[in-house]
Amino acid sequence: MNDSPLLQCNDVRKSFPKPDGAELLVLEGMNLELREGQIVGLLGRSGSGKSTLLRLIAGLSEPTAGRLRYMGQPISGPAPGIAMVFQSFALFPWLTVFENVALGLEAQRMPRADIRKRSLAAIDLIGLDGFESAYPRELSGGMRQRVGFARALVVHPNILLMDEPFSALDVLTAETLRTDFLDLWAEGRMPIKGVILVTHNIEEAVLMCDRILVFGSNPGRILSEIKVSLPQPRNRLDPSFRELVERIYVEMTARPLGGPSARQERFPGLGIGSVYPRVSSNLLAGLMEAVAAAPFNGKADLPEIASDLQMEIDELFPVAETLQMLRFAELEGGDLKLTEDGLAFAHAEVDERKRIFTRHLLNYVPLAAHIRRVLDERASHSARKSRFIDELEDFMNEEAADQTLRAVVSWGRYAEAFAYDDENAMFSLENPT
């Protein structure tokens, strides 16, 4: 094995300018090393900047600060030895399977005969024989992603970048493709030396990677690094596999020591300045019901309930955290435990549910309480949306303010704490006639 790493990131930082001149920080303090023979997983939720990092490595955008090196050379623009597989496959619909695969070689101006030989070899390797002259629209999702793989492998890259390559596929197809990929990798039949895999699926990361970097959000950064030394092929039902998955769940829901409390960490800002995710009251109620019911009876192990409800962490975490913020549940040690009110809510009828929800909304969501107070105090019992947006924008950017207000509107509507008319952008206390 070679001593120098394939890829090195040192203190990489990426931010985007905002319209108001300030900068939006999406990645900070990224340190990463990829060595030959490794699959490194970048695990995190959407918005944690893992895809941004992948694009930096691919040379598709440039870091604001820090250094990225590929085989010792600084990365400036797309490097010849780095190829990428995309989540949405990104095949050209007007090119056949063969032409899609050959495209990367044509760009290198390789002789025709060589292009043909190498493309056919890649198509063969990935199990697409017989489909050379098919157009992407004739293929199933799984076959399309195989084309995506063949297209990346044909250029004989040293590093293969994979941006959630299995997440657009159904469960069965994704598993087949993963296994095929791991087999080829284990047998050393792919012309690649290292892999970086972006995913938000914990089990996928544990199944495939040698090392997992867990990403945190706001701004995106590496929370921890987990080494996976289980032998390949790995078995999802193996106790040590389960244990590792559990450990990562704990890691991803833990409160960082000495930092601000977890609640504030997840919903950055304080009081009225908190940023809320758009989670519908249906999802909140649904998760509370699921946790309250057997076999969980009020306390659920996150990996278990995730697989039970077939939810990715991307979907599950915001709901769980919103429950915690509303004090309907506690999130600790990879478990979700309903509070007394959470349990009461799960077992109550519609009207009682609304009463409980209203109480928690007005107590624990300062923005909701603020809107209600303004409406109560005004003679007209109405207020413009812009008024609250302006207040929010003192704390957060435009997009976050809009998202937060919409979240609170949907909760407020469910609780019947206030009404909102989108056409006039007006809050009011009255219900529509």
């Binding site: 598709l60 010849p80 990104a90 495209l103 760009a107 290198q108 105090e377 003679a379």
Partner: protein, 571 residues
């Protein structure tokens, strides 16, 4: 916190949006009164107060022209809602109505004027009204067909679930029409209305200053103003006309189309989250103003009331009886008989009055014009496709370029007559070649619009693929950019080609004062026949042009379009 303020109850009575709404409404009423005043005047009135090139009259002329265009648009809307609905609902009628629409679409718009003006003048003899009718009808013919087609398409593509839902709630056909079909077709329809308004300008000059044989009428309006300026070689007046057009286009864009586009956004069936909702101050005004809000509530109530009044079909939801074969046969044979009769009549009239040599000559002229159209489309594509791709990949540039291109598309070719005629006469250029660019003056922009739209629809991941595999230069154009914009380009080229045929009638015969420059072609043939009032030559020319356009569409553009759609459409 809000302090108690004494003016609070005043604010409840009328918001500042109300004030704005009041001004706009009063302005509109004044506009209507002003423009309709002249309608019933006797024709001789036009001779007593001849058109003047004094720019002080331009606001009035602009109002009259806008009124005609809006009237044309309203007529087009009525036509669309009836004709397209009928064509979509009745299998039998559709078989006949859709091809008719297709042929109507290819009849040169200026041809409609030449043929119908006498009829319309006779409707209100001796009054301006008749000429107004003729003018509005001409504008209508430039606006209606694409709107009807778009609505027909929408009606045919209503999602099965929505249609089944309205069936299961047993909506009456009347309710179904207003609650499902019209809202569903609105977004596309409004887009086509905007295109129609732009297209209408092109024919404003011809439709306002009508001269067919001995009938010469110049209705007060921007179009006649331009015609007069050309006749009097007044460059300054041309400049004024251009400025007026710009202002009018800006005004109706802000007051009519922007609010419509923003409002119609709610009717889109597939709502993609995160897409920016179009915004319009005028719509905000209408929503915030209690005055207009009240009116709209009343209107809405009236619509609901009609749904109650129109009887609901209470028959059980049984499958409709299978259509009778015999009736079908009868219908088809009737249609065939009508077509044969019509054809025979036209052919008989034409053959009786045209020597075969003339027919051959007209075909030759049509070939010349066809050659011109194809070469011009090719040249315009060479210029605008790369530029369109470049602009489309840069959202900011697209935002700047789109409105400019929209204005340019409304630019009547006549406005460039001075330059063309000057240039050709001064340098002794060949009119056969150098008049041609006028044909594509207004229509080339459709290529640009569509290519921009196509390039901006290329998904980001696909661009990343190209960058990641370092696909650059000619390979990038060949494998990525050109295929991606092809379906859009073909759509644009079809519109541009149809428009150029239309424009040929104006563009192949350019006048500036007494100087006349002519390019040989079918367009100048029709233009000359029109000014001579030779009815049979007009019909022959227009018939030949329609035939050519239909055949070229069927044999060339349509197959190309389906091919591009099938192979290159990004889903």
């Amino acid at each position: 916190m809000d302090r108690f303020a004494p003016y609070v109850f005043l604010r409840d009575l009328a918001s500042r949006w109300d004030v704005l709404a009041f001004i706009v409404v009063i302005g509109l009423i004044a506009f209507l009164g002003e423009t309709s005043r002249g309608l019933f005047a006797p024709l001789s009135q036009l001779e007593i107060t001849p058109l003047s090139l004094d720019p002080r009259h331009l606001p009035e002329y602009a109002a009259r022209t806008t009124f005609r265009m809006l009237a044309g648009l309203a007529l087009s809307l009525v036509f669309t809602l009836t004709y397209a609905t009928w064509a979509a609902k009745s299998e039998r009628a559709g078989k006949l109505l859709v091809p008719i629409l297709d042929i109507l679409q290819s009849v040169p718009i200026l041809g409609f004027i030449s043929i119908t003006v006498v009829f319309f003048m006779s409707l209100a003899p001796g009054r301006v009204l008749g000429a107004e009718f003729a003018s509005i009808f001409a504008i209508f013919t430039s606006q209606a067909w694409n709107m009807a087609f778009s609505f027909y398409q929408s009606l045919r593509t209503i999602p099965v679930e929505l249609s089944e839902a309205s069936e299961s709630f047993r909506l009456s056909p009347w309710m179904r029409f207003w609650q499902l079909e019209v809202p569903f077709g609105l977004p596309a329809l409004i887009w086509n209305m905007m295109m129609s308004m732009s297209g209408g300008w092109f024919f404003v000059v011809a439709s306002e200053s009508i001269s067919v044989g001995h009938t010469t009428v110049a209705l007060p309006g921007v179009g006649s103003y331009i015609a007069l300026a050309i006749q009097q070689k007044n460059l300054v007046a041309i400049g004024w006309a251009i400025a007026t057009m710009l202002i009018v286009i800006l005004l109706y864009d802000q007051l009519l189309f922007r609010p419509l586009v923003a409002w119609v956004d709610r009717f889109r069936v597939e709502q993609e989250p995160g897409v920016r909702v179009p915004d319009s101050w005028a719509l905000t005004m209408m929503r915030r103003s209690r005055l207009i809000q009240g009116a709209s509530v009343a209107f809405h109530a009236a619509v609901l009331w009609t749904s109650r009044v129109v009887k609901r079909t209470d028959e059980p939801l049984a499958a409709p009886p299978p259509p009778k074969r015999s009736l079908d046969l009868l219908w088809v044979s009737l249609a065939v008989a009508a077509v044969v009769l019509g054809l025979w009549h036209i052919v008989w009239v034409l053959i009786k009055n045209t020597p075969p040599r003339e027919a051959l000559e007209v075909c030759g002229l049509a070939m010349l014009t066809m050659l011109r159209v194809f070469i011009l489309i090719a040249l315009a594509s060479l210029v605008w496709v790369p530029i369109g791709v470049w602009v489309g990949m840069r959202p900011r540039a697209a935002q700047i370029v789109q409105p400019i291109a929209q204005f340019m598309a409304a630019f009547p070719a006549n406005l460039l007559f001075p330059i063309a005629v000057y240039g050709i006469v001064a340098w002794k250029l060949k009119p056969d070649i150098f008049l041609s660019p006028l044909m594509i003056l207004g229509t080339q922009w459709y290529i640009l619009f569509n290519v921009i739209a196509g390039a901006s629809a290329i998904p980001a991941e696909m661009r990343y693929v190209a960058a990641n595999f370092r696909v650059t230069g000619w390979l990038w154009w060949r494998k990525v950019a050109l295929p991606a914009v092809l379906p859009f380009y073909v759509t644009g080229a079809i519109t541009a080609s149809g428009g150029s045929w239309n424009a040929a009638i104006v563009a192949e015969l350019a006048t500036w004062g007494n100087t006349q420059v002519e390019a040989r072609g079918l367009g100048s043939y029709i233009a000359e026949a029109t000014s001579a009032g030779d009815f049979h030559r007009i019909v022959l020319g227009i018939g030949t042009m329609s035939l050519f356009v239909v055949v070229i569409n069927r044999l060339f553009w349509r197959p190309l379009y389906y091919y591009a759609e099938r192979k290159y459409r990004l889903t």
